[in-house]
Structures are given as structure tokens and as C-alpha cells.
């Protein structure tokens, strides 16, 4: 249905000012064009005093009246306030509901930005509060874990298995893909400089040490933090938004013991398994490259056996345990900290990824220092 246009006639009034006569429809469909037309027609006409005759309007709605509001408030011809006449009572009532320009300005303007020092202070306080929340969470979680381990029968093992399946088994394809590619990439990157030194065969040694001690656990933890961490945070966040956590508390059940312990135990059990699997695939990727470089598998295997010690496997597996616990624990914390509304769930998931990755790299750095000092 085509919109009827607004008729606009502009002319000189007897008092030396200008008059505007409006006819037809002035509604949400026509008001934009009417406003533009009005500005063009008023240009070049002496416009003070300006009077508007709206008696010829057949129909109008709230949106259409905005142009009359602008005319009346001197916003079409800057500074010239028009006198509106001829409005039907119902349209006058609509115009009366309009706010004053100052009121609109006050209602939509943002509060003044705080000075930088205030933002800095708020940021610092937020970090302190976050660290405090983490410490409290670690304490409460440890207590709940100990209680759970003392009474393993009370642990909700089906829930642990569900989380292991959801967060772990489903992650196998991604871990396989990433693990194999890491082995291939490291082998190819190491092959070139070692070939120049005539030590190409030591690619196997490099793969063994780098993948087993460092990249295997690290890449696996990043995969878990990126894939499973946000899922855990979103699940708990959604439960909080839906007041399921409040329901647990009012039933006398501690959400930490009832929900978080199972997820952390699942993460702790799952991560080393995934790490070892990823390491195996990384080494396999390296062996493939060694084969492509012309070295028989027996030679590669012999070098791997020579370079890799049980301690390396122990370090890699321990990292897996620690990283898995950190990622799962922090994901649960972020889920429990979720605010209100669906947006909060998304924020909790994002926060879980960031916290997980930061904590994994921090822990890895501590491992590097510790193993150096202990000469492991």
C-alpha cells in the first residue's frame, strides 16, 4: 500500500513572516520525506514569525507529529519557534505527550566518563576482588574435594562420567587433529636447521622432548580450555540464571559439592589421558616426517628412546593433571560468578576461556622454573 504524501505549502504571511500549511497524511511513512521537503521549501523564505496551519491534515500518528514538535521547538529553522494551529484535539493530545528538547537530551546523554585514575582504581579493585574470589573458591573447592574423596560413594560418579564424555570423549577428534599436526610441524621446522648442521636425525630427539614435555600438555590444555571450559561455564551460568543454584542451596545442598566437584574431578582425570593421547599422535606425526626424510622407523625409535626419559613422561602427565584441574576449576568459578540474564552466560563462557588459557601458561612457566631448579 503506497503511503499518501504530506502536502506542504509555504508562503509569506501578512505579518511579514512565513506560514506553512500541512495537508494529507503525516505519519511514520511520510514524515521523513515531509521533513526534508519542509526544509527545502523554507529555505530562502523569511521565516520569523513562523506559523503552521495543521487543519488540513487528514491523518497523523505519534511519529508524524515529530516534525511539528521540531517546528514548535525551533529545530527545523534554527532558533525560529513556530506557532502551531488547527490541530485536531486528539493530535494536540499526542503533541502534548512529547518531552521538551532538554528532557530528551538529559534522558539519553551518557553520564560523564570517569577520570582515568578512577578507572585505574576500579580496575585494580576488580583484580583484587577477583583474586580474593579465586582464593576463596580454591579453599572451598579443596574442602569439598577432600570431603568427596573421603566418601567416594557419596560422589555422583554418573555425573563425573557424563562430564568426561561431554568434555573429553567428544574432544578426541580435535585433539587428534591438533596433536598430529603439532608433531608434523615441529619435525618439519626442526629438520631444516638441523640438516644444515648435518644433524637431521636428531629431529626425533627434538620431537620427543618438545612434544612430550611441553607442547603436548600445553596444546591439549588449550584445546580443553577453548572447547570444554566455556561449555562448563555456560552450563553452570545457565543454571545460575535459571535459579537452579538457588534451588540447590535452599534444599541444603552445596553447589560446590553437588556440581563443581564432579566437573573438576572429571577435568583432572580427563586431561592427562588426553595429553598422553595427544603426545602419542604428536610423536607419530614426527615419525611420519622422519620417514619422509628417509630415516627408517627403527632409527627414529632408537633416538626417541635415547632422548626421552621416564621423567619427561612424568612431567608431561603431571602438567596434564594440573592444567585439567585449573581449566575445569576456573570454568566452574566463572559459571558460578555469572550475572543475571542470557548475556551473562556468554560473558561467563568468554571469561572461562581467558582465565583458562592465562592460568595454563602461568602454570607452565612455573613448571619450567621448577623443573629447572629440581633438574628434572
Amino acid at each position: 500500500m503506497p503511503a499518501s504524501a504530506t502536502g506542504i505549502e509555504v508562503g509569506k504571511a501578512q505579518d511579514g513572516g512565513a506560514f506553512v500549511s500541512l495537508t494529507g497524511a503525516l505519519d511514520v511513512r511520510t514524515v521523513g520525506a515531509a521533513r526534508r521537503d519542509l526544509v527545502v521549501k523554507l529555505a530562502g523564505v523569511l521565516t520569523e514569525p513562523l506559523s503552521v496551519d495543521a487543519s488540513g491534515l487528514d491523518s497523523a500518528d505519534v511519529s508524524g507529529m515529530v516534525v511539528l514538535w521540531e517546528l514548535a521547538n525551533g529545530l527545523v529553522v534554527p532558533g525560529v519557534r513556530a506557532t502551531i494551529s488547527g490541530l485536531r484535539p486528539e493530535l494536540e493530545a499526542i503533541l502534548a505527550t512529547y518531552p521538551s528538547p532538554d528532557e530528551v537530551e538529559a534522558a539519553i546523554s551518557s553520564p560523564a566518563e570517569s577520570a582515568g585514575i578512577h578507572s585505574l582504581g576500579r580496575g585494580a579493585l576488580s583484580i583484587v576482588a577477583d583474586v580474593r574470589a579465586m582464593v576463596e573458591f580454591v579453599g572451598a573447592l579443596t574442602s569439598a574435594l577432600v570431603a568427596g574423596l573421603r566418601r567416594p560413594r557419596a560422589m555422583r560418579w554418573p555425573e563425573v562420567l557424563r562430564v568426561v564424555e561431554k568434555a573429553g570423549v567428544d574432544a578426541f577428534p580435535l585433539v587428534s587433529f591438533v596433536g598430529l599436526l603439532v608433531g608434523l610441524i615441529i619435525a618439519f621446522e626442526a629438520a631444516q636447521p638441523l640438516k644444515q648442521l648435518g644433524a637431521e636425525v636428531f629431529v626425533a630427539d627434538a620431537i620427543g622432548i618438545i612434544v612430550i614435555r611441553e607442547l603436548g600438555p600445553l596444546i591439549t590444555a588449550i584445546v580443553i580450555a577453548g572447547r570444554s571450559g566455556p561449555a562448563l561455564a555456560a552450563e553452570l551460568g545457565m543454571m545460575k540464571v535459571n535459579e537452579e543454584l538457588s534451588a540447590l542451596e535452599t534444599m541444603g545442598l552445596d553447589p560446590l559439592r553437588f556440581l563443581v566437584v564432579q566437573r573438576v574431578v572429571a577435568g583432572t582425570l580427563l586431561a592427562p589421558v588426553l595429553t598422553l593421547y595427544s603426545v602419542a599422535l604428536g610423536v607419530a606425526g614426527g615419525c611420519i616426517v622422519m620417514g619422509m626424510l628417509g630415516y627408517p622407523f627403527a632409527v627414529t625409535w632408537a633416538h626417541l628412546q635415547g632422548a626421552v626419559h621416564p621423567a619427561d613422561l612424568l612431567v608431561g602427565t603431571t602438567k596434564g593433571v594440573v592444567f585439567g584441574t585449573l581449566v575445569a576449576g576456573l570454568a566452574c568459578l566463572r559459571g558460578l560468578q555469572a550475572g543475571d540474564g542470557p548475556a551473562a552466560v556468554g560473558e561467563a563462557a568468554t571469561s572461562a576461556v581467558v582465565s583458562g588459557i592465562v592460568s595454563v601458561f602461568t602454570a607452565d612457566a612455573l613448571f619450567a622454573v621448577l623443573t629447572y631448579v629440581l633438574k628434572i
Binding site: D61, V104, I108
Partner: protein
């Protein structure tokens, strides 16, 4: 304004209601009522084009809602506003931005004009002070008021309200009823309201239809007071008298 012609609604094999016909006249407040699970919200989804009826047709402003496609469907959708039960305000936008959104997307008005219109709408629903707040900072009643303001943003002649009083205290609910009546009387807007709140029905409805879950069809049509006083249908009488079958539920009555 709306004509529902022998409509059957369902999901897959399951029929929710069938043989439903009624008309909504221009400028009236029309209520669709019925007990929980009778298909009120399903009917609403069909009226606003989110679902297609299995049989029959629904005409809004003379256009078949289910058959409209492309530009015709867009024009049809813009010809009415909808307030969803939860408000469905966008959580990442302020209340003011929520109300301004349809104006941003579908008009060529300047930013100042859109701001003025959005604020005017918020003032009309009594939320002129809350434009800068986020939806999460509003109470349930305020969310519904803001959602009504957004539904009115493009001056639609027809507005659908899904359970406007649900979950609200009686005072807030009465305020919302007054707002609906005010908008209907002063701006000539046709309202189709889905509700089962008796007080609201008597307060706002010019006419109503009642759906019945057990018979899976429309069982009554008319003015609410007339239906309450003189309907011969037992289900209708029970609904209006708030009677559970065979149960005395009014503890204020002397034994």
C-alpha cells in the same frame, strides 16, 4: 482488522485446536483467554505469522498471514507490534535503544527525531526515567512496559500482547491494564491480548474468545461480562467463576 477462518493449529501429528473462527474489529481490545495449555500462545504465533496453520487461513488487514512472502510479508510484519511474555528486550541495548531500534531500522528519520520518538514512547508507558538503564536492571512490570513501548515504535494500528499481566503483582497489573486502555482509547490502536488473568480480562476486554484444552477448540465468544453471567457452557462458567471441578477454593467464605 483480523479474520480467522476455520483454522486448525498443531505440531506434527498433534492437533492443538481446530475449527477456530472469529473476527477482531478495528479499535477494540480483544482478548484470547483460556486455561493453561489450551493453545493461546500457539494461536498468537499463528496470528503474527511465526507459525502457519495446518488448515484454514488468518487475514490481518485483509492479507493472508501464512501466504505473505517477501516484501508483502515485511510490510505485514511492520503493520503490527508484538509484546512477548518475557518482554524480549535485547540485553545488549539500553531500554532507550531497544525502543529506538525499529525506528533505526525502518525509517529515514534523523537520529534526533528517533531519539525524541523513542523517549516519547517511553514517557507514554511511564518509563521516561529509565531510558539509560539496561533491560537486566528493570523489574518484570517495567520490562513489559518497555516492550510495549518498543511494539508501538512504528505506530502500528494493531498490537499483540502475550500475557501482559503474567507474574505481576495486582497493582502493577492494574497499571498495565490502564495503559492498554489509554493507548486503545487515545490512539485508536487495536489490541489482541492473550491472557488468563480474570481481573485484566474484565478491565480491558471489549470482546473475547475462550479456548478450551479438552475440546481443542473455541468454546465461547462475546463480551466477558456477558459470558461470565449468562454462558450456558460449563467450562466457560467454571473459568469465570474460578472453580476447579468439584472443589471449594474460596477460603474467605464462611463455612
Amino acid at each position: 482488522m483480523i479474520r480467522v477462518e476455520d483454522v486448525t493449529i498443531g505440531y506434527g501429528e498433534r492437533i492443538v485446536m481446530s475449527g477456530v473462527s472469529f473476527e477482531v474489529r478495528r479499535g477494540e481490545v480483544f482478548v484470547i483467554l483460556g486455561g493453561s495449555g489450551c493453545g493461546k500462545s500457539s494461536l498468537l504465533k499463528n496470528l503474527i505469522g511465526l507459525q502457519k496453520p495446518m488448515k484454514g487461513r488468518i487475514l490481518v488487514g485483509g492479507r493472508d498471514v501464512a501466504a505473505a512472502e517477501g516484501d508483502e510479508r515485511q510490510a505485514l510484519l511492520r503493520s503490527f507490534g508484538v509484546m512477548y511474555q518475557s518482554g524480549a528486550l535485547f540485553g545488549s541495548l539500553t531500554v532507550h535503544e531497544n525502543v529506538r531500534l525499529p525506528l533505526d531500522e525502518f525509517t529515514d528519520l534523523s537520529l534526533r527525531q528517533r531519539d525524541v520518538l523513542a523517549h516519547t514512547r517511553l514517557k507514554m508507558v511511564g518509563l521516561g526515567h529509565a531510558g539509560r538503564r539496561m533491560p537486566s536492571e528493570l523489574s518484570g512490570g517495567m520490562k513489559k512496559r518497555a516492550a510495549i513501548a518498543r511494539a508501538l515504535a512504528l505506530d502500528p494500528p494493531l498490537v499483540f500482547l502475550d500475557e501482559p499481566s503474567a507474574g505481576l503483582d495486582p497493582v502493577t497489573s492494574a497499571g498495565l491494564d490502564a495503559l492498554i486502555l489509554d493507548l486503545a482509547r487515545n490512539f485508536g490502536i487495536t489490541f489482541v491480548v492473550v491472557t488468563h488473568e480474570l481481573l485484566s480480562i474484565f478491565a480491558i476486554a471489549d470482546r473475547c474468545v475462550m479456548l478450551d484444552a479438552s475440546r481443542k477448540t473455541l468454546v465461547a465468544e462475546g463480551k466477558p461480562r456477558t459470558l461470565a453471567d449468562s454462558s450456558e457452557d460449563q467450562a466457560v462458567l467454571r473459568f469465570f467463576r474460578r472453580e476447579a471441578e468439584g472443589a471449594q477454593t474460596d477460603r474467605s467464605q464462611p463455612k
